[in-house]
């Protein structure tokens, strides 16, 4: 595939997860291009997190004659028109994280619903007697938010000892989450035992609880370094226990290798699943160590990893 060119179409660069994703991309694809595995692997980001803008971007990538487009989509469906155009032009489209539903595209999906459910499963173990939960959701109207929330609610339905007494939108941003939680907290009962989250918002929730002078419940964490660091601090101070679920931003590199494999003529199933990144009480220190200060816990993939994932899915 030394003559092939691969593009990354990214819809948003405004948070640390996306920055880590772009960095992983550069870190892995740079050497790959140098070694002549591919001819080029360019990253493109739109100015605003908008499906229409990304659709235009994909159309431009088609015009530029890329052989494959690796896609983190702003919307699972709104890009289908543009993705179809790309497929019709003979371009391989591999979507990850924000996947698209257009059948001609490949999907590297995280089972978001399972992720939500895993949170409740953990709570079931950690808090056997159950109790009241606060839910922090992501950005309204976005697929990922809906999926994770669905998983959480499913889990809660199966475990009647838990009850969600409040739900706010934190937009996956720490300061927004903090604000939303601070606003609803005064009117919530004082016996909240746990906070189920979607990642990126756990630290904000902890801050809000502290500011309100309430005992900190069990808050499910995401993979931002500040969340992990806070968790570690609490753990050392009082033996605080929780878990973290998230998607590793390095999944962009997996998508890259999958695209490369497809271009190489390998048979690859249309749907691949990557496990979400999970950090538990015992591997917290190790994860924290490998995470840059202020960054995001991450895993990058090599060609071998990619081949393994493909083989497993076959």
């Amino acid at each position: 595939t030394s003559g092939k060119r691969i593009a990354l179409s990214n819809n948003y660069a405004g948070n640390s997860w996306r920055q880590a994703m772009l960095e992983s991309w550069a870190k892995v694809t740079g050497p790959a291009a140098e070694q002549g595995i591919v001819a080029a692997a360019d990253a493109f980001t739109t100015a605003e997190n908008q499906a229409t803008e990304q659709a235009a971007q994909i159309q431009n990538l088609i015009l530029q004659g890329y052989d494959a487009i690796v896609l983190n989509a702003a919307s699972p469906t709104a890009l289908n028109g543009a993705v179809k155009e790309a497929c019709d032009a003979g371009i391989v489209v591999v979507s990850f994280d924000g996947i698209v539903t257009e059948p001609c595209a490949y999907r590297i999906a995280v089972d978001f619903a399972a992720m939500g459910k895993a949170e409740v499963d953990y709570l079931k173990e950690a808090l056997p007697e159950g109790g009241k939960l606060l839910e922090i959701r992501g950005l309204a109207g976005v697929f990922v938010d809906d999926e994770i929330s669905k998983g959480i609610h499913e889990g809660v339905a199966e475990n009647p000892q838990f009850e969600i007494v409040g739900s706010v939108h934190g937009d996956w941003a720490q300061d927004v989450a903090q604000k939303a939680v601070a606003g609803i907290l005064p009117s919530l009962p004082s016996d909240i035992v746990g906070v189920v989250t979607q990642g990126g918002d756990g630290y904000g929730a902890a801050q809000a609880f502290a500011a309100a002078g309430r005992p900190t419940p069990l808050i499910i964490m995401g993979n931002r370094q500040d969340e992990l660091a806070w968790w570690k601090e609490q753990k050392d101070a009082s033996g605080y226990k929780t878990m973290s679920v998230s998607i590793a931003p390095g999944v962009s590199t997996l998508a890259f290798w999958v695209a490369q494999q497809i271009l190489d003529g390998q048979k690859v199933p249309q749907d691949l699943v990557v496990p979400f990144l999970r950090i538990d009480q015992d591997n917290l220190e190790a994860s924290l160590e490998s995470t840059p200060a202020g960054g995001v816990a991450n895993v990058e993939y090599s060609l071998e990893d990619a081949k393994k994932v493909i083989a497993e899915a076959m």
């Binding site: 941003a173 009117s187 630290y203 309100a212 500040d226 840059p292």
Partner: protein, 314 residues
């Protein structure tokens, strides 16, 4: 009686009436138990909208078409740069504040430069510059979250006599803005320009100087707000200003400042900021879904505006 009539004639009264209404509705939900917590949270988070709102207010008062859309990007850049400069070190707080002010001033100069030298309408000029500023923030530290120095983190989250420190900062800035506006020659000039720029110029008002100072003032307040917000929430995020784009405009106009320029008022900003925070808290408390929450927020805003309006006199 007379007092009531006089109060009702104030342009800012409706924002306070609305804020009080939703506040009451929220604490009634919990039978009054949440009064203190909710009030403190409201003051805390309103403080940030107040600070950016004040700057936006002066800009909007300059007349039709004047608005600063670079506030979110300015907040982000100031927050990221200042925290990186201070690098969690208490001794460098002064340097951090200096960096914040310098960024505000530089962006203000750039904005007015575009408006004056290239004659680009302010709405587009500040939008364009915000893209560049946002890019600079991304380039500068790639979304790495650095913690604020301990003093600042402590200061920005603590309260004095039960009033959150950030609200006290907002109060001080508001008093300064009020004096400038109501008692100072600067306020007169801004208002004159907003009513009729040509007439103001012919009446001897230094139009360019005042407009320049206003854009710089607005950018400096935005930078300061970004600085405070990132200290408050434990680090700067690339998207931390996003929600202040609409908020900064909304608090100004809900607060009774004339959108067509020439007339401004400071108290209304407080009413409107508290209102905007409280209305979301109220709807969250009552368990409204995201859709319903947005819908009701919009309808309440329109209702407040209509209540505050007068019939068209022909």
């Amino acid at each position: 009686m007379n007092l009531v009539v006089r109060l009702l004639a104030k342009p800012w009264i409706w924002a306070f009436v609305a804020a009080f209404g939703v506040w009451l509705a929220t604490i009634l939900f919990t039978g009054g138990a949440s009064t203190l917590g909710l009030s403190q949270a409201a003051l805390t988070f309103a403080a940030f909208s107040i600070i950016v709102g004040l700057g936006q207010m002066f800009v909007i008062t300059l007349g039709p078409g004047n608005v600063d859309l670079s506030i979110p990007a300015t907040m982000t850049l100031a927050g990221t740069v200042a925290l990186k400069v201070m690098d969690t070190n208490n001794d460098l707080i002064v340097a951090g504040i200096a960096a914040t002010l310098a960024i505000g001033i530089a962006i203000g100069i750039a904005n007015y430069g575009l408006i004056k030298l290239l004659r680009i309408p302010p709405i587009i000029a500040t939008l364009s510059s915000s893209f560049i500023v946002q890019s600079t923030a991304i380039w500068y530290n790639r979304g790495i979250r650095i913690k604020p120095p301990a003093y600042l983190a402590e200061f920005s989250t603590a309260s004095t006599l039960g009033i959150p420190n950030v609200a006290i900062v907002a109060l001080v800035i508001s008093i300064v803005a009020w004096v400038l506006l109501e008692k100072g020659i600067y306020g007169r000039w801004v208002s004159a320009i907003g009513q009729n720029m040509r007439a103001a110029r012919l009446a001897g008002v230094p139009v360019d100087g005042v407009r320049f100072a206003t854009y710089v003032f607005c950018a400096v307040l935005a930078a300061l707000c970004g600085f405070l917000l990132s200290c408050f929430s434990g680090g700067a995020a690339l998207n931390m200003g996003a929600e202040y784009l609409l908020t900064s405009i909304a608090v100004v106009i809900i607060g009774g400042t004339a959108v067509a320029g020439g007339f401004a008022n400071v108290p209304g900003i407080w009413g409107a900021s508290l209102f905007l925070f409280l209305v979301v808290s109220m709807l969250n408390t009552y368990g409204a879904s995201a859709g319903v929450r947005l819908l009701l927020t919009g309808l309440i805003i329109i209702a407040v505006i209509i209540a505050a309006s007068r019939k068209q006199t022909v």
